[in-house]
Symmetry: C2
Subunit: 185 residues, 2 copies
């Protein structure tokens, strides 16, 4: 027993709690802002890669892989036509580059940022590489396989599911894709 009446004690605790909640909320808000800013910065790098792809006549999709310490481990854009390789999607090239750099076939604790919802090939490769998080910009009802069609991560045949965050930088990434396809018509 502290000598306080139950009522006073409760009031005191509530006021301390209120102050602590306000501080924590401010800290969380700031931390969240930083996460959003960082996420957007990485996606901007991926968007730059997509623009480079477009300038080379490749479907404008870019990808960036980020290590746990925030270092960019790989960046790539679609190069199907240039390499004459149907598997040369941005995600695949970035995964292979990051694995080469880390001498490992698993990218544990790494995140991938892509400007378009991955197709089944890339979604499955992301899972096989054990990438922890997938951030993608534009949703792709036509060929996407994360939130559409095969929904690769949603089946028991997928043995590792990354966290998935879609729609970051969607407007810009979608505009680049739209402009590319309009120009080709």
């Amino acid at each position: 027993m502290t000598g306080c009446t139950f009522g006073i004690g409760q009031g005191y605790c509530a006021s301390r709690r209120t102050k602590s909640f306000a501080d924590e909320l401010a800290q969380l808000t700031e931390a969240w802002r930083q996460v959003v800013r960082r996420t957007r910065n990485y996606m901007d790098v991926a968007i730059e890669m997509a623009k480079t792809a477009a300038s080379l006549g490749e479907v404008p999709v870019g990808a960036v892989i980020v290590a746990a310490d925030g270092r960019i481990a790989a960046r790539a854009h679609n190069r199907v036509r240039t390499l004459k390789d149907p598997t040369a999607h941005a995600e695949m090239l970035a995964i292979r580059e990051a694995c080469r750099a880390s001498s490992s076939e698993r990218l544990v604790e790494h995140s991938i940022y892509v400007t378009l919802e991955p197709c089944a090939m890339c979604a499955s490769a992301i899972s096989q590489a054990r990438l922890k998080r997938l951030y993608f910009a534009a949703h792709d009802p036509k060929s996407g396989a994360v939130e559409h069609g095969p929904r690769v991560f949603a089946h028991s045949q997928c043995h590792f599911r990354p966290e998935v965050y879609g729609g970051i930088g969607e407007r810009e990434a979608a505009a680049i894709l739209r402009a590319f396809f309009v120009a080709r018509r």
Copy 2:
């Protein structure tokens, strides 16, 4: 009018037809035997690749790509560990090799023979490469994505569907996989 009564004409035609049917049936049966023999021969090459993979400590899966004229355009086995590349499945390596050889990102009129039902990554790559036919040996309820789970070819997000023939050489391919995993336990 040929001067034959309707009955005689019909009988005559029927007898000619019977003979023709017997010939055609024999020819078709022989053609079918040849197709089965050739298919099995190509699958045997893929099975040899799978055995090589096992001897290197890789999951024993092999793949062979065959051009329209029957020439083997590429053969590969799983090399995920050797190359430290999560995308280095037999099918992916064979597709990339065949595309390199033909200087094209599309393998139109080509067929692929694989010892195991492809995963989502490989199934999608087979579609993107426009491979006309997929022959696979062992069904894979655990990771397969053609007849299991994501069923990659079954959705509108898949823009090209190969013909699919499963179960050719299944017993032998499955035995090699089983022996590999038993030995690793």
